[in-house]
Subunit: 309 residues, 2 copies
């Protein structure tokens, strides 16, 4: 997820890193056919379909295996570009980045569902709320369900076969009622979701999941406290410190070009330079070497989809 | 208008250039306080809000008076960027490029009105029809009226005070019923519209207009038969051959960059290189000199708005 919300959650928790909440007797690694203490990693690019710059960087990262998976903002204006890519690359691991927010200043998107069916999801300009907090305050769960369903159905109608669902800016986790919708929809479509393990399980997420569902033990996302010159070090440390279990490193990829600079104007956090740095890091030989040196097994969401069926 | 439709109409007619259909006893020039045989010219940039590349080129052209006027595609994803510009530049002459089509391959927009209120305007993917012919075949006039009204109201809600209305890809001219809606809405909002004079008045447009309305005597738009190396010559000839009356030169401005290339992929007509050529021509000193040498009086749509009130 992109990710102020999850990042701030992660930040508050000193990092989302938590183990052993699973009700499963077998670890995810075992269920996937690996040794129980294998370090499994999904490297995931968020926010496809928001901009051509984002798409082209993410497609390159998928093609060159810099990332294993990615997810799509269905209301994003570049959805058809991603649908074309998905059809041309049927093995690409693409999920849906279910979105209830539209956070940029001069580049906004609305709902996929008819506006008059989801009025509680829209700000006065008719676009999705800019902040997760506004979603939590205003969004009616039945309208969230309609919108989630519309996003999934639109993606499928365009020939995208999603491998998983996750949540843009963490809005699916913003209230217990929306969280329940998120899990319900995932179960209905037989798709895995990004369900982060959080110490103490304050969201009571595990209670909503079935024994077959998979939780992610640790989520790694860059945050605004990291200095640009420490960017690679942050990810290298995360790989070095990975524990057995399932980790997801979430990145936001783009080129620091005129388009993305304009999309993300006045928003250095998760902005275009940030996304260029993420791209530069995931494509670097040091990351590839660190993954090998630390015996990391890269997995995709489609691998998880198989074991939850 | 961008403009395959009007361009093809212009092309069929050997050029949209036609005089003396006006029911007015005074010429537009006289009504504006000029000599009756003045050559009046609007240089107009279409398609604002579709892409940052389009916006930035058009804003520069407006700021430097390369164009006198421009119009906005309200369902375009970059609407807020244009709204910000409009608020910062209250003298900029900005109209609404009423859109019933979404013509690009991998970059599509939908209706501004709720989808379930305008189903006849939407293709199976839920976006506006790609071609004007599909609008003519499918669009119900009452739904066109709803969508036009929604586009105008959304622009106004964002702080845009439109100076005129025109029509993306000429879809407002595609059936007599839609044309009647276009004129009705313009009258209701007291805005001038691009109403081209066409020999024989096959659209029976003049019958819909009041004595106060203004028709454009001649519309000049580049078309695909013009070779790139003859681009400037085409516009210079158009200026040299201008007759007394009101002419509008319609251009499509953009930078031939990664974003616009992706928006207009597989579509060289009106594509990114085309828009760069248009920008290069309107910003050239030869155009400025030709306007002076031929005693052209540049006018804006807001000048026309005054005389139709």
């Amino acid at each position: 997820m992109h990710c102020q919300k999850l990042a701030s959650l992660a930040f508050l928790l000193g990092f989302v890193s938590c183990q052993a909440l699973s009700a499963q007797t077998k670890t995810v690694a075992e269920r996937l056919g690996y040794q129980p203490d294998t370090k499994l990693l999904i490297i995931h690019a968020d926010d496809l379909a928001i901009a051509h710059s984002e798409d082209s960087a993410s497609f390159e990262a998928l093609d060159k295996n810099y990332v294993t998976s990615a997810s799509i903002i269905v209301p994003g204006p570049w959805l058809t570009e991603v649908a074309d890519y998905a059809k041309a690359h049927p093995d690409a691991d693409l999920g849906l980045h279910l979105a209830l927010t539209s956070e940029w200043k001069t580049f906004r998107w609305g709902s996929v569902e008819s506006k008059d069916k989801v009025p509680s999801l829209l700000d006065p300009a008719g676009t999705l709320w800019p902040l997760t907090e506004m979603v939590a305050k205003n969004a009616k769960p039945q309208e969230v369900e309609r919108e989630y369903r519309a996003q999934i159905e639109r993606a499928m109608a365009l020939g995208i076969h999603p491998t998983h669902l996750d949540t843009h800016m963490g809005s699916a986790l913003s209230t217990p009622e929306i969280l329940a919708v998120y899990v319900k929809i995932a179960h209905e479509f037989h798709l895995p979701i990004l369900a982060p393990k959080i110490p103490g399980d304050p969201l009571k997420l595990s209670a909503l999941l079935s024994d077959k569902d998979v939780m992610v033990d640790s989520v790694v996302i860059a945050n605004p406290t990291i200095q640009p010159d420490k960017w690679k070090e942050f990810y290298l440390d995360a790989i070095k410190n990975m524990k057995p279990g399932l980790t997801e490193i979430i990145v936001h990829l783009g080129h620091d070009d005129a388009e993305l600079q304009a999309v993300m104007v006045d928003h250095p956090d998760y902005g275009s330079a940030w996304r260029q740095r993420d791209f530069d890091v995931v494509s670097s030989p040091e990351i590839k070497k660190a993954l090998q040196d630390n015996h990391i097994v890269l997995v995709k969401w489609k691998d998880l989809r198989k074991i939850i069926q």
